[in-house]
């Protein structure tokens, strides 16, 4: 399917476990982003990437790791999940002079 897709859509994990959220886009967009959405904070940027192998921290990067070995994929890893990382995670992509498009979101619960 064309577009930007996230997986899984829902995930429950235990404190201390490693979990990876996947993001895949079919447009060959250069720029990709991870945001988290929490009540009272809106959406906040975690990490972003300008191209394959180029990533940088956003507003709330602590506890997260990203990689981008291929243009179309931008996985987000929680190395040791904490309850404060319970949130809805959105991936987005865009190219120069275009709007950002978002995936469907992943609802993550850390118990």
């Amino acid at each position: 399917d064309a577009g930007i897709t996230q997986s899984p859509r829902y995930k429950i994990t235990e404190t201390g476990r490693q979990v990876t959220l996947m993001c895949h886009q079919t447009w060959s967009h250069s720029y990709m982003f991870w945001y988290r959405q929490d009540l009272g904070h809106g959406l906040r940027l975690i990490y972003y990437s300008a191209a394959a192998d180029i990533t940088d921290k956003g507003e709330v990067p602590d506890g997260y790791v990203v990689s981008r070995s291929k243009t179309e994929n931008f996985p987000l890893t929680l190395e040791s999940a904490t309850r404060s990382q319970t949130s809805v995670y959105f991936c987005a992509s865009l190219t120069m002079n275009t709007e950002a498009f978002f995936g469907q979101g992943t609802r993550l619960t850390v118990v």
């Binding site: 959406l43 300008a50 180029i54 959105f90 865009l94 709007e99 498009f101 978002f102 979101g105």
Partner: protein
């Protein structure tokens, strides 16, 4: 960083009513988007509007970049318009720092039949 404020925070309408949502931002921006988050949590692109006015059916948006605000108009509202409306701005710099969005807190719209 840029501050984005949306008003009102909550809005309740009867079907058929019109409404105006406002987005103020604290500094100059290159781009601005309006999104609708539906009850299933999906973020739907409404407008990509760094300046000027655009219309799409019952919705229209105006951005006055020099005065640092944008307005979203919803006419003849329907129950399917319910959800959260977000404004998000960008200050695109060169190189790798491009495309990062700063979101407002959103306006929660409820349309009753």
């Amino acid at each position: 960083g840029i501050q984005v404020e949306q008003s009102p925070p909550d809005l309740i309408l009867q079907e058929g009513a019109n409404s105006t949502l406002r987005c103020n931002f604290s500094d100059s921006v290159n781009n601005l988007q309006w999104f609708h988050q539906n009850p299933w949590g999906q973020l739907i692109n409404l407008f990509y509007i760094p300046s000027g006015t655009k219309q799409n059916g019952r919705l229209s948006a105006t951005t006055v970049a020099t005065e640092r605000y944008s307005l979203l108009y919803i006419s003849s509202s329907q129950t399917t318009d319910s959800g959260v409306y977000f404004c998000a701005v960008r200050r695109d710099a060169g190189g790798t720092s491009y495309g990062k969005l700063t979101f407002g807190q959103g306006t929660i719209l409820t349309v009753h039949p």
